[in-house]
């Protein structure tokens, strides 16, 4: 069964809506700066890609949910609008009549780590439970299901940096197996002081704008954002085609062609040096899509700009996809952790539909150890398949292949 991508909603540092964010990837402007919403105390500043100021900045204290869940709701709302689900046609099914699941990846959104609460607890101040209650109410998948009154399965994936990719792959399986008719799948993560300090402690953050795959790369910039894809069964999609006719005329339709996931089983914080799990996940995705590597038009790589990630990833791409253009979008978004795979899958859909890919922002000089350069300028691409991949802390490797159907027959 074909699993359609009928709508996308996304927000990140380069845009509070998906159209703006995608357009920004083709511009040279990028400006990571020290976090606006919290302070870090380090000898050097570590720039991050924070969302532009908006109503989403309201302090958690005044909100029922953590920022991560609010970002997910924002992206889900945009995705549902993009997929025309709000236009209820009495002759077509509506969401309340269907099995609609929610599968969302996150890191921060699943963590009980309120720093103020804990400082008070340490000082025997018997703190109010409000931050804990907010955390308990903020499971991202449960919040999205509650807001949009969805009654299917809910799953919050916490696979670190591959969470968004894995959440989409799982949502795809739910549709394929008939467990769901429609799934809101993606990822969401906020910038958080605790996480920033954690990454800095691992000495993998850069004090400059990140340079994925560049010889002189020296670490990542953290970011925040969310992306939600509306996945639906071919059957449901065709039933409501009539209300989507206008959209169909403008863009070819995308679908999830395949997915693969494999673990390095190697080390907690370092990828396998030969990319054992990544190779396997890529091959599994190709097999699932029933295509060969030469059918992939381009690759939206993980490309964090850490020494280890980019070396492993670059070497595997050189070997498995020697002629295929690849790039990282993290030079514009930062590493959005649990949202990264979802944001990148969303960008991949848009680029496949418009046949345009951007330069790999931050890249200037080829790394001889990798011996394979990402895109150095925007390009036109042809083809019906593209790859979006994630490597994660803990050794997870996950890949999605997005397909394009020029006409819906």
């Amino acid at each position: 069964m074909k699993v359609r991508i009928s709508g996308i909603g996304a927000l990140c540092a380069c845009g509070l809506d998906f159209t703006t964010a995608t357009a920004a990837l083709f511009q040279d402007r990028r400006d990571p700066v020290p976090a606006r919403r919290f302070k870090l105390d380090h000898p050097l500043p570590y720039p991050v890609f924070e969302l532009p100021p908006s109503t989403l900045d309201a302090p958690d204290e005044n909100q029922p949910w953590l920022r991560t869940s609010r970002l997910a709701v924002n992206a889900a709302r945009a995705a549902l609008a993009d997929s025309s689900w709000e236009e209820i046609d009495t002759t077509a099914p509506n969401l309340s009549q269907l099995k609609v699941g929610v599968s969302i990846g996150t890191t921060v959104g699943g963590s009980m780590n309120d720093e103020k609460f804990y400082r008070d607890f340490r000082e025997h101040k018997t703190p109010e439970l409000q931050p804990i209650t907010r955390y308990l109410q903020s499971n991202p998948a449960a919040v999205v299901a509650e807001v949009f009154n969805l009654h299917g399965p809910q799953l919050t994936v916490v696979n670190a940096c591959s969470s968004g990719t894995d959440a989409i792959a799982i949502g795809t399986e739910w549709v394929k197996s008939g467990l769901c008719d429609v799934v809101l799948a993606g990822g969401s993560d906020e910038l958080c002081r605790v996480t920033c300090n954690g990454f800095i402690s691992l000495m993998i953050n850069s004090t400059q704008p990140c340079r994925p795959f560049d010889e002189d790369r020296n670490g990542l910039n953290l970011g925040e954002g969310a992306a939600i894809l509306v996945l639906e069964s071919d059957n449901i999609y065709r039933q409501r085609r009539i209300s989507r006719a206008e959209n169909e005329q403008t863009l070819p339709q995308a679908f999830i062609a395949g997915s693969g996931s494999a673990c390095d089983a190697w080390h907690l914080t370092a990828p396998h040096p030969e990319g054992r799990g990544l190779r396997r996940s890529l091959q599994l995705a190709l097999d699932d899509a029933k295509i060969t590597a030469d059918k992939i038009a381009f690759i939206n790589a993980h490309g964090t700009a850490t020494k280890n990630n980019d070396l492993t990833e670059g070497k595997v791409l050189k070997e498995m996809f020697p002629e295929t253009p690849y790039f990282s979008t993290k030079g514009h978004t930062g590493h959005t952790l649990g949202a990264a795979g979802a944001l990148e899958a969303a960008f991949t859909v848009a680029m496949l539909q418009t046949h345009k890919i951007p330069r790999s922002s931050g890249f200037h000089k080829i790394d001889p150890e990798i011996g394979h350069a990402p895109t150095s300028s925007a390009q036109t691409v042809n083809g019906s398949f593209a790859l979006s991949q994630s490597l994660a802390f803990g050794g997870n490797n996950s890949a999605l292949i997005i397909g394009l159907e020029e006409s819906l027959n």
Binding site: L136, C263, A265
Partner: protein, 321 residues
């Protein structure tokens, strides 16, 4: 959903480790001794009984040198998987195996220990080891490394429904033939912050009668699952035939009921939905709160209890809790 063969179960909790200990506890042969922990809330000091699990026996299976960088959360999770594999009598080597680790709250003790390093030593001296182990999927990484699991690994958190979603995913992986075997289970650990929250929520509750013998628990429960095939011998613990999210309610009649009567909402959940689905009123009842303490994923040890009935022994009497 295809039927899933339950080949092995690895429980670790206040009752001990392994199915023999768990069955003995169900039969009332093991006296559970909760650890008494002093918790101070707005209402004063409380001696809270905490149902702790002991990961030290894991050293019988794995060299201490390999365990030294693992926190208690990862050790208990690893212990649960080691026991499940041993209980199955099967070897994972050469098998395409997937791994699913579900937790309601993750490695909270390690997260707060990391915050201790930030508060005590400053942002610039935060502990990288504590941060690494605080990440939700650290336990899965350690387990995958130990067993060389190169299939898909999934860490998830979905509150009280975490085990349900883990089992649904395991079923999908096996039905889709992505893997031949899945190690699937839950892990949650106690820390004093959770103890404070547990007691404070209990005190705020208007409807729950406080019982001094009730307390939070911790533990791991892992299953060795495979696709049920006609040609295979009957699996040790039978089959999982249906797993449904809790909003798919259809009543069933069961020979006995497993309940959790002493939860601290919203930090943990009782068996409200479960009991609604088991309309018969007079069947024997097991209250796992007396064996495991109050766990944030109440269905975890229910499954072990349901899979391992005691045909030659009466069920223990309803707890005095």
């Amino acid at each position: 959903m295809i039927p899933l063969a339950i080949n092995g179960i690895g429980p670790v909790g206040a009752f001990g480790a392994g199915m023999a200990d768990f069955k003995a506890a169900l039969a009332g042969d093991i006296k559970i001794k909760p650890e008494i922990t002093r918790i101070t809330t707005r209402n004063g000091d409380h001696d809270l009984p905490v149902f702790r699990a002991d990961s030290k026996p894991l050293a019988q299976f794995i060299k201490p040198r390999k365990l030294r960088r693992l926190d208690n959360f990862s050790r208990l999770a690893l212990f649960g998987t080691v026991l499940a594999v041993a209980d199955s009598g099967m070897d994972l080597e050469g098998s395409q195996t997937g791994l699913i680790v579900a937790s309601a709250h993750g490695a909270t003790a390690t997260t707060f220990a990391f915050l201790d390093s930030v508060i005590d030593d400053g942002d610039a001296l935060a502990s990288p080891t504590l941060f690494s182990n605080s990440v939700h999927n650290a336990a899965a990484s350690h387990i995958a490394e130990h067993f060389t699991i190169t299939g898909p690994t999934l860490s998830l958190t979905q509150g009280a429904n975490s085990l349900t979603m883990a089992l649904i995913t395991a079923g999908q992986w096996l039905a889709g033939e992505r893997v031949e075997t899945v190690l699937c289970g839950v892990i949650d650990c106690y820390c004093d912050v959770l103890g404070y929250c547990w007691q404070s929520y209990r005190e705020q509750s208007k409807t729950t009668k406080l019982n001094p013998a009730a307390g939070p628990g911790e533990g791991a429960l892992f299953l060795h699952l495979s696709r049920a095939r006609r040609s295979d011998p009957k699996p040790r613990y039978g089959y999982l035939k249906k797993v449904a999210p809790d909003n798919e309610e259809s009543p069933v009649n069961l020979p006995f009921t497993i309940s959790h009567s002493h939860c601290s909402k919203p930090l943990s959940s009782d068996s409200e939905t479960y009991l609604k689905l088991t309309p018969a009123k007079n069947q024997p009842q097991v209250d796992l709160a007396t064996i495991c303490g109050d766990l944030p994923i109440p269905s975890s040890f229910d499954l072990a209890a349901a899979a391992a009935p005691l045909p030659d022994r009466p069920l223990p009497e309803q707890s005095s809790l």
